[in-house]
């Protein structure tokens, strides 16, 4: 680091990362914010103001969709955690050797496949003429076709399916690092399964739980495909609104404001999650 040559090397290494972060991440977001606080007053004439944000709070459709997206994302995160934890525990603690590798890989494969394909699969399963409806009719459980698609439950199934891998993988990693002898010691000292889970396993798995929850929440909040394809015409999702403002309505000012609100919400939740669990971003995400 002292010689001129290595100093040059250092700056050569610094250049690409600065170029990447400044040009593609920082400046675009500053630009997005600037556009979000400009109001159109005439053709190609703008003035600075919070009008776009006022529109958001004044129009119930916008903030209700915002709240709905947030609540459904939280629900999807909670469901993913509840459904994924036993699976991660089974893979990390109750299976060995080849079974363990196979189960883990089986969890990973759907994650490599495009989200579009996964969503398409759910459409084939759930629609009125789909596999489940036809299957139930053949079994004689229902008399006519039923539509399982285009409702909030379908969105939830899709969201959980899309993001469960991001919950299971960090959980398996943290649970793997928990020594079995600690659990044995817990039983030796008279602990019950419930108390051992609460006092040994879950505290140990906390970093995995937090990073899983953060990733799943973000993926759900920013999801576009699943709500649009699995939800009905009335199942609004906030990313869909941003898309409409940008591409269909060409109202970039309002679209930017909506985008910034979504970014704000997702950052706030990430920050809150990290603070509550006393983790740092580098710790949680860096291990991904």
């Amino acid at each position: 680091m002292r010689s001129d040559a290595s100093k040059l090397g250092f700056y050569l290494l610094l250049a690409p990362i600065l170029l990447w972060l400044v040009v593609l991440i920082i400046l675009p977001h500053v630009g997005l914010f600037v556009v979000s606080i400009s109001e159109k007053v005439g053709p190609r004439e703008y003035q600075t103001g919070l009008g776009n944000y006022a529109t958001f709070f004044g129009e119930p459709l916008y903030w209700r969709t915002f709240a709905r997206t947030a609540i459904m994302s939280i629900l999807a995160t909670a469901l993913t955690l509840i459904l994924g934890f036993p699976i991660a525990y089974y893979i990390a603690k109750l299976s060995r050797g080849r079974t363990k590798t196979t189960l883990f890989l089986m969890c990973m494969i759907p994650f490599w496949v495009s989200e579009l394909v996964r969503t398409f699969g759910w459409m084939i399963l759930l629609r009125e003429t789909g596999v489940i409806s036809t299957g139930l009719q053949n079994l004689g459980l229902i008399s006519g076709p039923i539509e399982l698609l285009y409702n909030d439950a379908a969105i939830m199934v899709g969201l959980v399916y899309t993001s469960i891998l991001f919950m299971v993988v960090p959980l398996v990693t943290t649970l793997d690092s928990l020594d079995d002898s600690l659990i044995e010691a817990g039983y030796d000292l008279g602990g019950t399964t419930v108390s051992i889970m609460r006092e040994i396993v879950i505290p140990h798995a906390m970093p995995g739980i937090v990073s899983g929850c953060i990733v799943v929440f973000m993926l759900s909040l920013g999801n576009y495909l699943t709500p649009i394809l699995l939800g009905g015409k009335d199942s609004l999702w906030f990313t869909g609104m941003i898309y409409t403002q940008f591409i269909t309505r060409f109202n970039w000012e309002l679209g930017s404001a909506l985008g910034f609100l979504l970014l704000g919400l997702s950052s706030a939740i990430v920050f809150l999650g990290l603070k509550l669990s006393k983790q740092s971003l580098s710790n949680t995400m860096g291990r991904a």
Binding site: L13, I17, I87, L105, L116
Partner: protein, 284 residues
């Protein structure tokens, strides 16, 4: 609950049943997508009309197979073009970043590391619109100032590549850094002692050591680029990559040709994915 501590048989049984149901839930959508690629019907839904390969090789309407459907073949080409660029750029910058973060101490390192992780927590749609807004602003300014056209800054493949690159680089950086951290610096010292130049050492000692991680991150980048939807949706111009084409077709009403494409995607991504997992270990 660990193997050495016996549990009531009923509890164990319930647990196993849950795990089985879970894996069925995981496999179900992908299985039906694959199965209906071979159904001799114009709709990807029951009843089963018999086995056919027409959705792959068919030439007569309505049974036009994937390999003869021009819009799909063209968009696969577009996706491959984008993916190669994204992967090349992301791996190059990722390798530089790995050297920077592992080998150098400097003021603001922690801050820079955190900034490097930021793309992971920005929703893809926001990443897309921010780059769209910014590049259009630049294009407008430049066009007003010079009177020339700057089409590269308008929605199109260049923006798609930049948009995907902006977050895939973070993954490449993490994978390559993890490997570089395991490198034994005495190997480099030995090479330097034996009279190698600094650059020669990096090229002949360090880079070969990093190669498994570099290849793995290149494969993962190609996969992520191929299947990216959210960021691409906001930046796409007239040439649409595969996911966008499939989305448009899906909205119009689907035919089993989409199942056939999906089957190909599933097979290719599973193979590439497994490869990226096992490759780094083999030369560990």
């Amino acid at each position: 609950m660990i193997p050495t501590i016996p549990q009531p048989a009923f509890v164990t049984w319930c647990y196993r049943a849950y795990v089985t149901v879970f894996f069925i839930y995981l496999a179900l959508p992908l299985t039906v997508v694959c199965v209906f690629a071979f159904n001799n019907s114009v709709f990807p839904s029951p009843p089963w009309e018999g086995f056919t390969l027409a959705w792959f090789f068919g030439t007569e309407a309505p049974f036009i197979g994937v390999f003869n459907e021009r819009s799909i073949m063209r968009s696969i080409g577009t996706s491959a073009f984008v993916a190669l660029w994204v992967s090349g750029l992301a791996v190059t910058v990722g390798t530089c970043n790995a050297f920077l973060f592992v080998r150098h101490e400097f003021r603001g390192k922690a801050l820079l590391y955190m900034l490097m992780l930021l793309p992971l927590i920005i929703p893809g749609v926001i990443l897309g619109i921010s780059i769209l807004v910014f590049s259009s602003a630049i294009a407008n300014t430049l066009e007003d100032a010079t009177g020339l056209w700057f089409d590269g800054l308008r929605p199109g493949l260049i923006l798609v590549i930049l948009g995907q690159f902006s977050f895939i680089t973070t993954f490449a950086t993490l994978v390559i850094s993890a490997r570089l951290q395991k490198f034994d610096p005495s190997l480099e010292e030995a090479a330097l002692n034996l009279g190698a130049t600094k650059l020669g050492t990096v090229r002949q000692i360090t880079l070969p050591f990093l190669m498994p991680a570099i290849l793995a991150s290149a494969i993962v980048s190609v996969l992520m680029s191929f299947e990216n939807f959210n960021t691409t949706l906001m930046l796409v111009g007239s040439d649409s990559p595969l996911t966008i084409t499939m989305f448009d077709k899906l909205k119009q009403g689907s035919t089993p040709v989409l199942n056939a494409v999906s089957l190909l995607l599933i097979v290719i991504s599973a193979v590439l994915g497994l490869f990226s997992l096992f490759f780094p270990q083999r030369r560990g």
